[in-house]
């Protein structure tokens, strides 16, 4: 019995321990696969799935829209009727579907009151504009949620009469509203354009006190649109001519660019404004969609082509997404194409059903649902398209953003205005990471390797016993302390005494060499006794030199740099200066990584088999010859592995760069400029980002890249070390 229990205990222990051992492997695999799992959806293919078709029994549709939850579709007909359709019941419109009559006269056009999505302005044939707000309210009862919809007439249900402003029938209108300030643009059949501004628009009262402004008529204009912020006005003709007017200053409209959106050969087939209205999408008869964006050229602002999409069949209609720079294009061959402009990708194409005319389309606000309304039919689609703005090429290549003059590498993960999209280019961050690592290694590598050579080959064993724990202490220094000193003490010091810092680079080694030269005149007995303690001897020399250089900084700068090293650099070399820069980061991060490189390198050098050294010395080589030709060469793989481990450490170091680098994502190799690294970027942005957004997943991608980079460095180091160990064993 006793034995059985013992055996059971033994077996259990063995199993448990084996499980524990393998769990280390499981942990690292879990980290890797979890990161991959979070990142993967970024690169998942886009898919479209048809949900339902509904009979609406209504033709002559002018507008369609949906609510936030995609439960209700609202249709506005040419007859001035509004119908709410329940999207969930695929049975079609029940006979008792509530109808709302919005206008008696036939409706000519419906436009949203820009930039609101749920307020509409209806232009009727009797030269009036009616304003309505479509309200969808989510309600809850015991076990389900449903949406109740209603339509509210605005401005005390009083339409805006246009006859007093224009003589002819109004052909097109557009409305912009920002708080209580509302602007209405109307265009009559002759091209005469009137801008009405209502400074105190109040939903409960009729519109009044219009300020009237007449713009230069645009002969063949067929449509009018407000631009971003109501500061611009676009007018378009049916054949693709456009005219841009700056209306930011009341009473002083300034004509800006004008021209032709389609070439002489082509013919305009569809036109749509992208989110923010900085860009116009123009489709022509050849199946080409061109994105034109506002761009400043001197004192003029004009539209300029930015990029093109080519489709096999002409595009008859387009619908922009409500919150992203994407759109869906409906081709004549009954193919719909989902496109994202900035990433320059056609994400997915699918067949749609339609009558003779292209369908009316509306996205749900999150653009995960699409409803298409043709004559008598309503079809809805689910769109799985969460990260259209990110592709491998937008992450690394230059991207042409709205408002820029040329394609750029930019990381700007949030913007003040929803009209502008976040800009996700990893290139500046990777550059910053490598730049910080480069300068840190430039500082740390020589010091660590040289220190290791001295410690392993020349140092007195008594001192070595002191140095090893000292180095361990240095390795344990919290990086937050180093970063804090670098950012708040070293950075201002370097800024104020730049001349002295630069001079130190030369003065410190020179002073040591001078001291070494003078050393020969000491009695041989003293020299022999102190040989193993040279490191301590250099400490006062270095300290004194540094103190001298720093206390005569002003004089030195006056002599060498004409008074101010920073000004001299800027004037003579054209180098800008940030207080928190790569030099400061390099020094601080270098100090953090010196002990890491040192201990691995020192181990490798100290483990060089003694008979190699003795053989060399016996053949008459001097100690330095032995060290530089035999020991260093033998230990070279070990030193390489030390550098790899150090590199892994600096690439992922966070706190020092966070505090000492300034965190500006710029592409500049200048040692006196800052940078933003992968690690600092994560810690700055991840706490405030929305879970599962593109930004969140990208930050995980950055973490994954860091993981892979350090994994590569460390595995390389480990493999090289194993080989070296084998070689030492053979020797």
């Amino acid at each position: 019995m006793r034995t059985d229990r013992h055996r059971l205990f033994d077996t259990l222990t063995r199993r448990l321990v084996a499980l524990g051992g393998w769990s280390v492997l499981a942990a690292i695999a879990l980290i890797f696969f979890f990161l991959v799992w979070v990142v993967a959806p970024i690169f998942a293919p886009v898919s479209v799935e048809r949900l339902s078709g509904v009979d609406t029994q209504r033709g002559d549709l002018l507008a369609v829209s949906t609510d936030d939850t995609f439960a209700v579709a609202s249709l506005i007909t040419r007859g001035g009727e509004l119908v709410f359709l329940d999207m969930a019941s695929a049975r079609g419109a029940p006979p008792d579907t509530p109808r709302h009559s919005l206008a008696e006269a036939p409706v000519k056009a419906v436009k949203p009151v820009y930039p609101s999505a749920n307020t509409v302005a209806l232009l009727t044939a009797d030269n009036r504009i009616h304003f309505y707000r479509i309200v969808h309210e989510p309600r809850f009862n015991e076990n389900s949620r449903f949406v109740t919809s209603r339509v509210d007439a605005l401005f005390d249900a009083t339409p805006l009469h246009l006859d007093s402003y224009v003589d002819n029938e109004v052909a097109a209108h557009d409305v912009f509203r920002e708080g209580s300030r509302m602007q209405v643009a109307i265009l009559d059949e002759t091209g005469a354009t009137v801008l009405l501004e209502f400074p105190h628009a109040d939903d409960a009262r009729p519109l009044r006190d219009a300020r009237i402004e007449r713009l230069e008529p645009a002969g063949d204009a067929a449509d009018v649109m407000f631009g971003p912020g109501g500061r611009w006005l676009y007018r378009f003709s049916g054949n693709g001519a456009y005219r841009l007017t700056d209306i930011a200053r009341p009473g002083v409209p300034v004509e800006q660019g004008a021209g032709q959106l389609v070439g002489a050969a082509g013919q305009l087939t569809a036109l749509e404004m992208l989110l923010g209205r900085y860009s116009v999408l123009v489709a022509d008869e050849r199946g080409v969609v061109t994105q034109w964006s506002l761009r400043r050229a001197g004192s003029m602002t004009d539209l300029a082509p930015v990029r093109q999409f080519r489709f096999p069949s002409p595009i008859d209609a387009m619908q922009a997404e409500p919150r992203r720079k994407g759109f869906v294009a409906f081709a004549r061959n009954r193919q719909a194409h989902l496109v994202h402009t900035t990433s320059h990708r056609v994400l997915e194409s699918f067949r749609f059903e339609s009558g003779p005319a292209p369908p009316l389309a509306a996205f749900s606000p999150a653009a995960d649902r699409l409803v298409l309304a043709g004559p008598g039919r309503l079809a809805s689609y689910a769109i799985h398209n969460n990260h259209p703005e990110i592709s491998w090429s937008t992450l690394w290549r230059r991207v042409f953003y709205e408002g820029y003059d040329e394609p750029v590498h930019t990381w700007q993960s949030s913007s003040a205005d929803t009209d502008f999209e976040p800009k996700f280019s990893l290139t500046p961050l990777l550059f910053g990471t490598l730049k910080a690592a480069f300068y840190a290694m430039l500082f740390a590598m020589p010091l660590a390797v040289m220190g290791a050579v001295y410690t392993a080959c020349f140092m007195n064993p008594g001192m070595r016993r002191l140095i090893r724990p000292g180095i361990e202490t240095m390795a344990g220094l919290p990086t937050v302390v180093l970063g804090f000193l670098a950012g708040l003490w070293l950075a201002p010091l370097v800024e104020n005494m730049l001349g002295a810092v630069i001079l130190c680079l030369a003065a410190l080694p020179m002073s040591v060499l001078a001291c070494a030269f003078a050393w020969q005149w000491l009695p041989g007995r003293v020299r022999a006794r102190l040989e193993g303690w040279l490191a301590l001897v250099t400490v006062p020399v270095l300290a004194a030199t540094a103190w001298l250089v720093f206390s005569f900084d002003a004089e030195l700068e006056a002599v060498l740099f004409g008074g101010d090293a920073r000004a001299w650099m800027y004037n003579a070399l054209g180098l800008g200066y940030d207080q928190r820069n790569a030099l400061v980061v390099g020094i601080a991060m270098g100090l953090a990584v010196i002990p890491v490189i040192f201990s691995v390198a020192e181990q490798a050098i100290a483990d060089v088999p003694a008979h190699l050294v003795q053989g060399s010395l016996a053949l008459g080589a001097s100690r330095w010859q032995t060290v530089s030709r035999i020991v260093m060469l033998t230990a070279a793989p070990g030193i390489f592995s030390a550098v790899m481990i150090g590199l892994g450490r600096v690439v992922g170091e966070t706190m020092i760069v966070l505090m000492a680098s300034g965190n500006t994502p710029i592409l500049d190799l200048n040692v006196f400029q800052g940078m933003r690294t992968f690690a600092a970027n994560i810690v700055v942005e991840l706490p405030t980002t929305e879970v599962a957004s593109s930004h969140y997943r990208l930050l995980f991608l950055i973490a994954l890249l860091l993981f892979v980079m350090t994994f590569a460095f460390n595995t390389a180091a480990e493999v090289v070390r194993e080989r070296l160990r084998d070689r030492y064993a053979r020797l």
């Binding site: 013992h6 280390v24 942990a27 344990g476 937050v480 804090f484 170091e653 810690v683």
Partner: protein, 555 residues
């Protein structure tokens, strides 16, 4: 021996390689200098802050006119004369070279902002150290500097006049009242709040489960509300008593300021203090830095919650990491078939050690906080939703993340310890009929226990200094409550906590008043470094003891 021809001498010297050896030595020298300089810098800047420095007064001439300044010198620097003359219009004849500039802390942020001013030394006249100047450390608006002119009780001047003795006595009384109010708030009122919150959750839970009976809850709620009212009345009484006294001081510009004595923590007359009194004051200041919570957006007061949070986090982490680290090391050393398996796992361990800490933070946030914590919330904390309980950064997740991060440290250390246990001991035990498990638990592990301790200490030192991952998984700049208190279940692993390392970053870089906070950051950094160095040295010491012990066993 030195030769007569310097150039030949030089050539031979260069050939010998001596310059290289010297340069290599200088690399070590640089390291020593950097580390020593760092400690000295932190010690001087951090520890100097608590010394009750002399308060000076002087007349100061600016180009706009003259003023009288009273304050403590907080820093001085020299600037070149020509730089000064470029920036300031001054009579070149009266300007020394270099120009000395002082940073003077004049305090009185509410009465006469700013509380720090730069002045040029050569423009100060009638420099003196007035003996009766008083410094007040206040709960808000920072220090006040001035001369005592009035002391009032309920608006009436106290009999005997504003004497120093009367002031200190009343400050002591105010201190007692304040701590009574704090106790009332922290233990009673907070506890009642928490119980009410729990009842509210209970109500939600019953509603979710379809239970309609809530009578008992209502009784409890009524009882708690009554208790709350009583505590609130008591607090109001205490607050009124605290507001009884007022002190008036004459400011440096001759105006007077009056503020309630209840806001004063300490008052001292630095220019009257003996060295001994100053030393006492210094130690008192140092102690309150270690034992008190921060005030005024972390720019004043102490770091106790940060120390406490750091200690709690490393404690929980140690509990988590020790068994895993020991088991993994046992597997590698005692059980695993040598060869491919061990090599693979060892590479995994080295990689685990080499993965940047921020990646652990990202993993911790995504996996522990959102995936695991979110699931726990869905399963067990439905009533609190949508407010997350475990699905948000907190102490438990921070400890788990750091346990993963420090796992390699423990594994490597324990493995080393196991390797040192002589093979003979295992063989002897097995030969006497013990199973492998018995050998392990009775012989090997006890002998290797110091190495386990070493590993845990090293892990704790690493974790105490780590900040980046914590910023993602649970650290906050100001935690409303400590993770341990007198309320059931006493240890609150879901709470957010403060941490010394993050405190340095936050106060140093995100503080609204960086100049005032700077000395505290140096002090905090010094504290953190001392903790880490002491831990590391203990580990090193333990390891060398262990080495010595096995040398004797083997002989």
């Amino acid at each position: 021996m030195p030769g007569s021809d310097p150039s030949r001498r030089y050539g031979a010297w260069w050939q010998s390689g001596a310059p290289w050896i010297w340069l290599n030595a200088a690399a070590i020298g640089t390291g020593i200098l950097a580390v020593a300089g760092l400690f000295v810098l932190l010690a001087v800047r951090g520890l100097g802050h608590f010394w009750p420095g002399e308060v000076i007064s002087f007349d100061y001439r600016t180009n706009a006119g003259g003023l009288h300044i009273v304050g403590a010198r907080a820093g001085r620097e020299a600037i070149a004369r020509n730089q000064y003359l470029e920036a300031v219009a001054d009579d070149p004849g009266a300007v020394p070279d270099p120009v000395e500039r002082w940073l003077v802390k004049t305090g009185n942020r509410r009465e006469a902002a700013p509380d720090f001013r730069w002045v040029f030394a050569h423009r100060a006249t009638n420099l003196a150290a007035p003996p009766d100047v008083v410094v007040f450390e206040r709960t808000e608006w920072g220090n006040a500097y001035g001369f005592l002119v009035g002391l009032a009780e309920n608006g009436v001047s106290v009999s005997g006049g504003p004497t120093w003795a009367a002031l200190t006595e009343r400050i002591e009384r105010a201190g007692r009242l304040r701590s009574e109010i704090d106790r009332l708030r922290d233990s009673e009122i907070y506890e009642i709040d928490r119980q009410l919150e729990r009842l509210r959750f209970e109500r939600r839970r019953r509603a979710l489960d379809g239970v309609e009976r809530v009578g008992d809850i209502e009784t409890d709620e009524a009882r708690l509300r009554a208790a709350y009212r009583a505590a609130a009345i008591r607090r109001a009484e205490l607050s009124e008593a605290l507001g009884r006294d007022e002190v008036s001081i004459r400011l440096m510009d001759g105006g007077e300021a009056t503020f309630p004595l209840g806001t004063i923590i300490r008052a001292w007359q630095p220019n009257r203090m003996t060295v001994r009194a100053k030393l006492g004051h210094y130690l008192e200041g140092l102690w309150s830095f270690l034992s008190e919570p921060p005030r005024e957006a972390n720019t004043e007061g102490g770091v106790f919650p940060a120390i406490f949070g750091t200690v709690m986090m490393v404690l929980v982490m140690s509990v988590l990491v020790t068994p895993f680290g020991v088991i993994a090391a046992l597997y590698l050393r005692e059980y695993a078939p040598q060869g491919g398996v061990v090599r693979t796992i060892r590479i995994a361990v080295h990689n685990l050690a080499g993965v940047p800490s921020i990646v652990y933070g990202v993993f911790g946030l995504g996996f522990f906080v959102y995936a695991v914590g979110g699931t726990l919330d869905d399963l067990f904390f439905r009533e609190a939703q949508p407010a997350p309980t475990f699905g948000t950064p907190g102490l438990l997740w921070a400890s788990l993340t750091l346990a993963l991060l420090t796992l390699p440290v423990v594994i490597v250390s324990v493995e080393e310890g196991l390797a040192r246990v002589p093979q003979r001991i295992r063989e002897g035990s097995l030969a006497l009929g013990a199973t492998k498990a018995e050998t392990l638990f009775r012989m090997v592990l006890p002998m290797a226990s110091p190495s386990i301790l070493t590993g845990v200490i090293l892990a704790v030192a690493r974790a105490a200094g780590e900040v980046a991952p914590l910023m993602l998984v649970g650290v906050v700049k100001l935690a409303p409550a400590l993770p341990v208190d007198g309320n059931f279940p006493f240890v609150h692993l879901e709470r957010k906590f403060m941490h010394l390392g993050f405190h340095i970053y936050d106060v140093g870089f995100q503080s609204p008043n960086p100049v005032a906070a700077r000395p505290l950051v140096f002090a905090t950094a010094l504290l953190l470094i001392v903790i880490v160095v002491v831990l590391n040295s203990t580990a090193t010491l333990l390891r060398s003891r262990l080495e010595a012990r096995y040398r004797t066993v083997e002989n």
